[in-house]
Assembly symmetry: C2
DNA sequence: CTGATGCTTCGACGGCCATCGAACTATGCA
DNA sequence: TGCATAGTTCGATGGCCGTCGAAGCATCAG
């Protein structure tokens, strides 16, 4: 429960502590994690983690779900995720271009989860393909589904109208951490990731944001979605 | 110049210090301010302010412009402003509804500048009016100009296509600090404020984010733009 | 040159808070 | 019932950093 109404600098200070920032970015993957998992993620003791998590809860940045002797934490709302995302984007945009960006792990660079949608090289190529096929249009960080795009996704079994009625924006362009180009976020980005996961084309690597594509899954993705070729 | 590439928690920690947060939010008004003005704003000595400003500059959050013996600071980019805005929005949305929100000054509550667009009661009523007239549509924080809206604004002398080509999004719904309802942001929001200011309907109060509408200016605004009535 | 103003650097002080050991409670398993 | 594990509370320690006084540059006015 929130005891004090957190002000802007208080929220920023909470995120400004490296251990807490580690936990929060770990939760960007969208999965709920336990206190010990988060302690490992941040490389701190469980006591310290407990104190941090209490503060984040108290400020309303996290939700908690008790299950037996475990406590599962997740981000409180999409607004919190959006804040973390804009922080991440800013830190990326402030980083000089000559240093290598993002994670080193090739699997992470290739395909990973960003909060709840597809990121990495594959996410960027998919977004670019949707754009060149005229299925979405872009104006800065604001993307919209075209008429053609609506027909395309409904042909894949997506209830676009239902997504549109949800609280989150339908399409958003999210700046990719490692690629520095946009990938698809928003409720449609969420639906898309769910779709390719439900079809078994991809599986989540345990304890990581990385996504593992089977060879056949990768072929299927290329066939059913317009991926831009690597070259460009 | 940026010596180190600031990471996410570093950026957050910079904003998390109350004095620095004061300076940054003061700069949200869009005007460039001198070091002493910012020191006054944050209620700290000039030495301390100098140290804070050096850190913000070094992290790439601010730009500086030397003019004689003065230094004018402003936010480095629209991305920084967007980050501050999402922080502000989150702190508003986390604040319980039973406490009075936003500034006490009635002039500030009525009309003020939010970075570079119109906020306050008038901004909220204008946004609602645009919505009910079908000039814009809204899906969560994503607003778009309708065909009718394009014709409306072009009739007012706005080059919508040019705005669309700018780096910023054309329309954005920005959660109003005092009113807790949306007002119009994005490049169109910027154009609109410039328009009403160039027409002399409103003037900026010196050293404040408040906007002063003359009686005739207010009438003109009501006549030329669809303001929602106070009641709703 | 002289004085005034804007801003910076240096150094010392002080407070806040992240950290972890130790001890404790709560849940699950056999 | 007893042991193991998850999580919390308390207290002591230590480090980081915001703060301002004093002194030092730079710029401008005369």
């Amino acid at each position: 429960m929130h005891t004090l109404t957190p002000s802007l600098p208080q929220i920023a200070a909470l995120i400004g502590e490296p251990a807490r920032a580690s936990m929060l970015t770990a939760l960007m993957a969208g999965k709920a994690l336990t206190a010990t998992e988060l302690a490992l993620e941040a490389d701190i003791s469980s006591q310290t983690a407990s104190s941090h998590l209490a503060k984040l809860l108290n400020a309303g940045l996290l939700q908690v779900l008790k299950q037996g002797r475990h406590k599962y934490f997740r981000l409180h709302s999409a607004e919190v995720a959006a804040l973390l995302e804009s922080l991440l984007n800013l830190s990326v945009s402030l980083t000089p271009l000559n240093v290598s960006t993002g994670p080193q792990d090739p699997a992470l660079r290739f395909a990973r989860v960003c909060y709840d949608h597809l990121a990495g090289e594959l996410g960027v190529r998919l977004y670019a393909g949707l754009l060149t096929e005229g299925l979405i249009t872009e104006q800065d960080t604001q993307a919209s589904l075209t008429e053609k795009g609506v027909r395309f996704f409904e042909g894949k079994g997506c209830d676009v109208e239902r997504l549109r009625r949800s609280k989150r924006p339908l399409c958003r362009a999210c700046l990719d951490w490692s690629e520095r180009r946009h990938h698809l976020a928003g409720s449609l980005g969420y639906w898309l990731l769910q779709d390719v996961m439900s079809k078994g084309w991809v599986t989540r690597q345990p304890d990581s944001r990385a996504l593992l594509f089977s060879p056949s899954g990768k072929r299927a993705l290329c066939k059913h979605y317009p991926l831009q070729t690597r070259a460009c």
